[in-house]
Symmetry: C2
Subunit: 354 residues, 2 copies
């Protein structure tokens, strides 16, 4: 297969972990005889230094034209700590998702037996956790109209959803549940929010056309509680943009490291694959970032194009790194391996299964 893959390293540890994914995809190319063309483009705070804009036009054009996008991370301390900054790196990511119509963020959270002890939650609670969060990604309060009064004393954000925004991701979630344990949990705040009531009404209707899928609803505050008390109860979680942000970050803690979790952002015509974690600017350049989340996201990329055997080869190499304890210090404090070494190990252990 021939694929053109846009590489957006972004900020902080983004470029470092992305480089390890590229090693793995190059190993896949050789081992399985594919042709991947990689094209790098500036994105995030790093792009603002040149153009003043976190998503330059050329980067957007490349992403539109590429078959898939591998993305690192976005965000820099300079902007986080400055409430006066007019343009923020994160706006680039929001705009990219919007322009490409990447309306669904898909975030699998699956416990690795090797890291059971790393979880802050007790073993009996997290063992066998295997859930996936479908987070709406281009609507809701993150994209609603924002206002700041002229005297700067009042500010507002609008959370708005339409039935069509809700139903397109709801169908994805129910379809995914069909191939899994056949359960969808909608998370909202329908006892208080009008937009949540529209979610509940719309999804409850859609659920009727998937009679083999069991369907339940939870309020976000209760869902945040259940994620700590009994994450195994969840199969597919469906939720809006902000609730999905909170819940998926919270869910990622279950594994004891945000460095292990991949994610995909998909739309009708484009798909982007990225680690779950943020730009972690404090770790930038220190060769300590865990590349596994990024590497597993490249496996999701391969899967997206039907290259299941290839995706499994990456996952198998990652598992080998766990077994051999070739991991970064976030998952094993005593480890002496850095980002690069772990990336080398995994990419060198990618083999065709027989």
């Amino acid at each position: 297969m021939q694929l053109k893959i846009a590489l957006l390293g972004g900020d902080g540890i983004g470029p470092e972990v992305l480089a390890q994914s590229v090693k793995c995809l190059k190993a896949i190319e050789e081992t399985f005889n594919h042709r991947f063309e990689f094209v790098e483009a500036p994105f995030g705070a790093i792009a603002m230094t040149g153009s003043g804009r976190p998503l330059p036009d050329e980067t957007l054009a490349l992403c539109q034209e590429a078959d898939a996008i591998l993305f690192g991370a976005i965000g820099a301390l300079d902007y986080d700590n400055n409430p006066e900054a007019k343009v923020r790196p994160e706006q680039g990511l929001l705009r990219l998702r919007k322009e490409l119509g990447l309306f669904a963020s898909i975030r699998p959270i699956k416990m690795f037996p090797a890291f059971l002890e790393n979880s802050p939650l007790k073993r009996n609670i997290v063992d066998h956790t295997d859930l996936v969060i479908f987070r709406e990604l281009t609507g809701g309060i993150y994209f609603g109209k924002k206002t700041l009064s002229e005297d700067g004393t009042t500010a507002s954000d609008l959370c708005s959803y339409s039935e069509s925004e809700i139903s397109r991701i709801a169908h994805l979630a129910f379809k995914a549940a069909k191939k899994r344990r056949k359960k969808v949990t909608l998370v909202d705040k329908a006892n208080v929010l009008e937009s949540s009531r529209l979610w509940r009404k719309t999804v409850t209707n859609i659920a009727q056309s998937y009679p083999d899928i069991s369907f339940e609803c939870l309020f976000i505050d209760n869902a945040a509680v259940q994620m700590m008390l009994n994450p195994r109860q969840f199969d597919v979680i469906l939720t809006d943009n902000m609730f999905g942000d909170i819940l998926s970050d919270q869910g990622s803690v279950i594994l004891g490291s945000v460095g292990l979790l991949p994610s995909a952002s998909v739309g009708l015509e484009n798909a982007m694959f990225e680690p779950f974690h943020g730009s972690y600017p404090q770790a930038k350049g220190k060769n300590i970032a865990n590349p596994v989340a990024s590497i597993l996201s490249s496996a999701m990329l391969l899967q997206h194009f039907g290259l299941d055997e290839e995706a499994n080869a990456i996952v198998a190499a990652v598992h080998k790194s766990f077994v051999k304890k070739v991991v970064t210090t976030d998952v094993l404090g005593s480890s002496k391996y850095g980002t690069d070494y772990v990336g080398d190990f995994i990419s060198e252990n990618i083999v065709e299964s027989d």
Copy 2:
């Protein structure tokens, strides 16, 4: 001291747990020679059956005139599961807070050594957790303008904050921190939301007038993570209405039971005391609800009026119930004690310390 206390039992297990608090306050009356006048009033779904309104005028008038309010819980399954319902019980609570100007919800989360093993989090993570959440209670998206398009296909909620709404609760939080471990953490989503940026700017300014208090900011998604990884890092958490809802419910899980946590809602002229937990309609009338959260909230009521010795007498009796294992099954599965029995035990063990 003479106090007129409005009793709003509300829905679900509310009336049952409230009744135990009243037993304790009556014991305080006798033991310490005070005069408490208790006046009950309908509130929530139960009030809607009669008047169609969750907060009848007479109930509001009573609350305005009383010295303090003891409240049970609100919300019923009939309404939760019906997205078409025009009026919801929760609207009564929102309106009551608004009418009384109860702008700050104060939610202490303190680990009890007796229940360390009950936490879903590992012992070394939760031991010595002692934090308090200041949640803004009358502004933000729960109270913003709501719209539903005529064809019912688009819905919206507005999240709006003013500088004055932010600063009045911020000052409460900083003052509380002075008497504690001298740290305030603001939780917001300033990288995406305009209202959060106003919070960050306003609170950062206020922090400068409390030079002995250390001040830091966290994004809500990261805060939800930190609450699971290292809750001990927090002293006073300051946040908006919705983030406070999620974070405090999540924080409550640390103790392994939402049945142990009291809370207060305070304004300039009124104060209401209530258990942290909801109406738990599934448990209604089964005599299994944990009354401790409600009982500890009556201790917060006494403290509010400077009756520290009396408040401590309640807390001491609660601790005795823990030591003697006179607890409900939510905190000790093998317990055979019900709501009433636990309430009797605690109220009968309220004594003057010497």
